[in-house]
């Protein structure tokens, strides 16, 4: 029977159920003797679980055996009881077990304690009355019984450390004795005294000492001793050390011990034995939670471990990194985690685990970053985030989960209060939803569309965001319900004032109607990596069109900066139909320009002359990135070709014929690029940003023109006249400005209409506030007039700010009270500037007097020209509101930035936005580089940091302190300029002004 039972056990361990033998197991335990009985009990404990009904049949056998005179049988019964026993039957045998606590044999006492431990685990209430017996067991003269009682104490202390603080001294004494080798020699394991007992005690101590200084103090000595005793080079001592270190870092800290423990950990981590390294990392993970600085000591080892071939080491290292994650290293660590994911594709469970951590954490972190950072952060952060999402990792399943998670979290965000989210975050959300919301099958595209529509309807949504939203809708409009929503939206925006918005709405409408075109233009799951390969970056497929156009007498293609330049010179040109095209082609052309000074040659040149640390590597990589990005920018150019619907083509042709002066060649290109840019929206940082940022100046220029003609006729005339006075005033006669107070007093009697031109300006400049009068100010140009009020403005450049001064001149005979004046700007931050002279916003103007408003301006978003738009209304007579605008070149916000070459070097590497272009060199000078740079210095207030041979470096800052660095190199008779800045668009705008400055010279 015994043999059969063993076979049944074996069968079950192979996975075959042997339930028929269960009852026989119980019988064997009941009827057998000696080893047979033991096997019967063993089989029962293996076969049955705690709730099995057959277990009840065992109770009687156990009862009988507990009362047996045969110690072996008692022992067996206690063993099985401590393994499993029906909860309800505990009272039946409890008295018998308690009785055994006083048994003369240590093995019986020990087993009785273990049986009580089991009772405590399954029914703590039933053993409450015998707690004092546990204490007795703890003090048992036999170490085995004491050890057994520790299980109960560990459990109880874990649940309620407060109740057992008084036992600390006892545990400490026991540990001291164990460590001191007071136990019988047979407790040793590889001559280490009772290692598992030590570990158990250390665990108990760490529970007791946690957050309790006085209790912790009792332990310091024995912990120190443990650390020192465990110098033997055997695994088990390291296991004890690990437990010891963990205890030291859990209890109330003592610096001396912490130091020793840290040192100990160092040995672990540095050990060539991989198991120790693992344990060391695990301990470190524990330790850095208390003291992140400790990780610094071992950072090199940690880095090594990150690349360790063994996955578990990597995993543990990531766990460690996870604990020391902060705002600065979050990206790097996430990157490392993702790398790990990539490696472990074959290990499904690992992916599952790490994937979850990374997903949750990454998306959520980014959500926080977006909502907190909001619009203040650089645009390449959301862009790189989207790139990461779209490029994905090597594991399809993982990509899907990550995207799905992103979609889910964004949908729930939109269901909340989207109005509170920053614009950039909304843009990211709409892109992700457009691209990936189809992954969530149960999600209706129409419902996503409705959510997006809600965004469009919100007041605070900027037009840039609206573009993103419309783009997302275009991707989403499949199926009946969604198409109708899409149509509705597109009808609203098709008549929008914003050309880009109009374009998007058109697209939305067309794609909504024609699903075939849609799928061709916007394929699902576009694999970026693959599309790149069939890109014709030279746009050779357009060659035929170009030559045709050239043959038809069209002007050859001009790069956009050249065109912009021409436009700037010929201001009368109507720009309307081309409002958008300029900035887009700008981005495309900068590709060509970037290629000319090869990044490699530049980097090598710099690294030798400027001694920039590590510059070669980073630039090499950057160079590579730039090229790749440029390819991506044009990547989609081919795609839209089938899409040029007849209407659009007609539109294009129409506009073409309207403005023959414009070069026709780039136009179809532009149209495609516009689409490319929109398809690519958010993937490539440069193009989209350019698109939005650069459209500023052109459209503003247009607006201003319209207003100039509409509201203040004759203003242009006036401008040209005042221009004559420009030089006089700009020179700022100090004597005149200084006694401005006198003049101001006199001006009351002056009638501006008598002498409309020069005296008026003079008297206005005399109204400049005293602290500004000493500084050079621009010409005072009229803004607008409203009834008897004349508005004029000038700007004053101060070292750390730019002040806009608006003069309101009242030419009527009565005082006008409370003139509401509002200023706003897309690119600028306008702040009412309270000066000491005029300490409150001037609210009323006496008759024939001048009120002075001062505003301090700072650039929010760089643009070639920035513009302040304002409204003023006259409270007298019929209410009338007039809009005016005041335009400033970006250069007025540029100040020199004094740097050393070393500072320049470190800053250069840190900046992400750059532009390269070749500029003309002043060739008639013996020192062309120096001459050119001094022109830039004079005109644009750039600071020349250093000139070395054929290279020069310059620095400037955009008010108040946003730096832009410039690297110039004479190359083939031209000046290869490379600008870098942390601010997007700033390099592009600055290079435009550099070009102008050099050409004017």
């Amino acid at each position: 029977m015994k043999e059969l039972m063993v076979r049944a056990i074996y069968c079950e361990s192979l996975g075959y159920e042997a339930s028929f033998s269960y009852i026989h197991a119980i019988k064997l335990a009941q009827q057998g003797a000696g080893l047979e009985k033991r096997v019967g009990y063993l089989a029962v404990s293996l076969f049955l679980n705690e709730n099995h009904e057959l277990l009840l049949l065992l109770v009687n056998t156990v009862l009988k055996d507990l009362q047996s005179t045969n110690l072996i049988e008692v022992c067996m019964a206690l063993t099985v009881v401590s393994q499993m026993f029906p909860k309800d039957m505990i009272p039946a045998i409890l008295p018998l077990v308690e009785e055994k606590l006083n048994h003369p044999k240590e093995i019986i006492r020990r087993k009785a304690v273990l049986a009580l431990y089991k009772f405590y685990l399954i029914a703590p209430n039933q053993v409450q009355h015998i707690h004092n017996k546990f204490r007795k067991a703890l003090c048992d003269k036999d170490p085995g019984v004491m050890t057994a009682s520790l299980h109960i104490y560990l459990q109880m202390i874990q649940e309620n450390p407060e109740g057992y603080k008084d036992l600390t001294a006892s545990f400490v004494t026991i540990l001291k004795q164990v460590v001191g080798g007071k136990l019988p020699i047979d407790f040793n394991y590889h001559s280490v005294p009772a290692p598992w007992l030590q570990i158990q005690l250390l665990r108990i101590l760490s529970f007791l000492g946690k957050n309790d200084q006085s209790v912790s103090e009792l332990m310091y000595e024995v912990l120190d001793e443990s650390l020192q005793r465990a110098e033997m080079n055997h695994n088990i001592t390291y296991a004890i050390l690990y437990e010891c270190v963990r205890c030291i870092y859990t209890i109330h800290p003592k610096s001396e011990l912490l130091e020793k423990a840290a040192q100990c950990i160092g040995n672990f981590v540095l050990s060539p034995k991989i198991n120790l390294k693992y344990l060391g990392l695990k301990a470190l993970t524990y330790v850095v939670q208390q003291d992140p600085k400790l990780a610094l000591q071992h950072q090199m080892t940690i880095i090594e471990c990150l690349d360790h071939p063994d996955l578990i080491i990597k995993r543990e290292t990531l766990e460690l990194l996870f604990r020391i994650t902060n705002a600065q290293n979050v990206m790097v660590i996430v990157e490392k985690m993702l790398e790990f994911l990539r490696v472990s594709t074959d290990d499904y469970t690992t992916i599952d685990l790490v994937g979850k951590v990374a997903e949750l954490w990454f998306i959520e972190t980014m959500n926080t970053v977006f909502s907190v950072g909001g619009d203040m952060m650089q645009p390449d952060i959301p862009n790189s985030f989207l790139k990461l999402l779209s490029e994905g990792f090597d594991c399809v399943e993982d990509d899907r989960k990550l995207r799905l998670f992103a979609v889910d979290s964004y949908i729930s965000l939109l269901h909340g209060e989207p109005g509170k989210l920053p614009q950039r975050f909304l843009q990211v959300i709409s892109w992700v939803l457009g691209e990936y919301s189809h992954l969530r099958e149960e999600l209706e595209p129409a419902s996503v569309l409705r959510l997006l529509e809600k965004l469009l309807d919100m007041k605070q949504t900027s037009s840039e965001t609206k573009n993103w939203v419309l783009m997302a809708m275009t991707k989403l409009c499949v199926g009946g319900a969604s198409v109708s929503v899409a149509q509705q939206v597109s009808e609203t925006y098709i008549s929008s004032m914003d050309t880009v918005l109009r374009q998007r709405a058109q697209e939305l409408q067309h794609f909504g109607q024609d699903s075939e075109v849609r799928t061709r233009v916007l394929p699902r799951d576009t694999d970026l990596e693959n599309t790149i390969f069939d890109v014709d970056s030279s746009l050779s497929f357009l060659d035929g069109f170009v030559s045709e156009a050239l043959a038809a007498g069209a002007a050859p293609y001009k790069p956009p900066h050249q065109r912009q330049e021409e436009l700037a010179q010929a201001k009368a040109l109507s720009l309307e139909p081309y409002g958008l095209s300029l900035p887009i082609s700008m981005s495309s052309c900068s590709i060509a320009d970037r290629q000319s000074p090869t990044p490699l040659s530049m980097s090598s040149g710099l690294s030798t002359t400027l001694k920039l640390d590590g510059v070669k590597r980073v630039w090499g990589r950057e160079g590579y990135l730039v090229q790749r990005e440029s390819v991506e920018e044009t990547a989609q150019v081919e795609v839209p070709s089938p899409l040029r619907s007849p209407s659009q083509q007609a539109e294009a042709n129409g506009s073409h014929s309207q403005t023959p002066t414009q070069t026709p060649t780039p136009e179809p290109e532009q149209e495609k690029q516009q689409l490319a840019a929109s398809l690519f929206f958010g993937l490539s940082s440069q193009s989209s940003v350019c698109l939005m940022g650069k459209s500023g100046p052109t459209s503003h220029r247009f607006r201003r023109k319209a207003k100039g003609q509409g509201s203040i006729s004759g203003a242009t005339e006036q401008t040209s006249k005042t221009k004559l006075n420009d030089s006089d005033i700009k020179g700022s006669d100090p004597s005149l400005s200084e006694d401005s107070g006198l003049v101001a007093a006199d001006s009351e009697d002056m009638n501006p209409h008598e002498d409309p031109e020069r005296p008026k300006d003079l008297c206005l400049s005399s109204h400049l506030p005293a602290e500004l009068s000493g500084l050079c100010h621009s010409e005072i140009s009229p803004l607008c007039s409203i009834q008897s009020l004349d508005l004029s403005a000038c700007h004053v450049q101060k070292d750390d700010s730019l002040v806009l001064v608006i003069f309101i001149q009242n030419s009527s005979d009565s005082a006008i009270r409370q003139i509401p004046l509002d200023l706003d700007s897309d690119e600028l931050e306008v702040m009412y500037y309270v000066s000491r002279v005029s300490d409150s916003p001037v609210e009323d103007v006496r008759s024939h007097d001048v009120a002075v408003y001062q505003y301090s301006l700072t650039v929010k978003r760089p643009s070639v020209h920035v513009e302040v738009v304002g409204t003023v209304s006259c409270p007298v007579g019929t209410p009338q509101t007039v809009r005016f605008s005041y335009k400033l070149p970006l250069t007025t916000f540029i100040r020199p930035l004094t740097l050393s070459t070393e500072e320049y070097g470190t800053m250069w590497l840190a900046f992400s936005h750059d532009t390269k272009q070749n500029l003309t060199l002043i060739s008639d000078d013996p020192e062309p580089l120096t001459a050119t740079l001094s022109v830039l210095k004079r005109k644009l207030q750039l600071h020349v940091v250093e000139i070395i041979g054929m290279e020069g470096i310059l620095a400037c800052r955009l008010l108040r302190d946003r730096p832009c660095l410039m690297h110039c190199r004479v190359h083939a008779g031209a000046l290869a300029v490379w600008l870098r800045s942390p601010v997007p668009d700033l390099p592009d705008c600055l290079i435009y002004h550099c070009q102008r400055a050099l050409q004017e010279d």
């Binding site: 033991r38 393994q83 057994a148 996955l311 578990i312």
Partner: protein, 144 residues
């Protein structure tokens, strides 16, 4: 805390299994196969600890026999690693005249020894002579 102890041969067949947390019989086979695959695929120079789902595996190889212990995250892996060795030393002492590969023919005794050492997922006895005391007593009883 220890979740299970497995003894498997190089072919991945289970020789002994002991669970300290209830696992259904039907799921055991799959779990064991998975766990064994995890451990057998690892090279000698690799770490003896493997992450598996939400817990860790500690394994040790003795010639053709692998002993795999599943432990919770908070457990001290190295101490379990040594515990395995302690267990094997106890087996060696008891079966001193029996070759290792035949130990498996005395499955019941191996189980009894294991039960003396680990109960409810905790180490209850590591003193070799004390672990073996009940078993030797039984043997004596059978002999005479």
């Amino acid at each position: 805390m220890i979740k299970f102890v497995l003894m498997v041969n190089r072919q991945g067949q289970t020789r002994l299994s002991r669970y300290y947390q209830p696992v259904e019989l039907s799921r055991r086979a799959a779990l064991e196969a998975d766990v064994v695959r995890c451990c057998l695929s690892r090279k000698k120079e690799q770490c003896s600890f493997v992450e598996y789902k939400d817990f860790r595996l500690v394994y040790r190889q003795y010639a053709a026999l692998y002993i795999v212990v599943g432990v919770s995250d908070a457990e001290n892996e190295l101490s379990v690693y040594e515990l395995v060795h302690n267990f094997v030393e106890v087996l060696d002492k008891y079966f001193s005249r029996v070759p290792r590969h035949q130990i498996m023919f005395n499955l019941d005794r191996v189980h009894v020894i294991l039960d003396e050492m680990i109960q409810n997922g905790h180490v209850v006895e590591t003193n070799r002579s004390r672990v073996l005391a009940p078993l030797t007593a039984l043997d004596k009883m059978a002999d005479g």
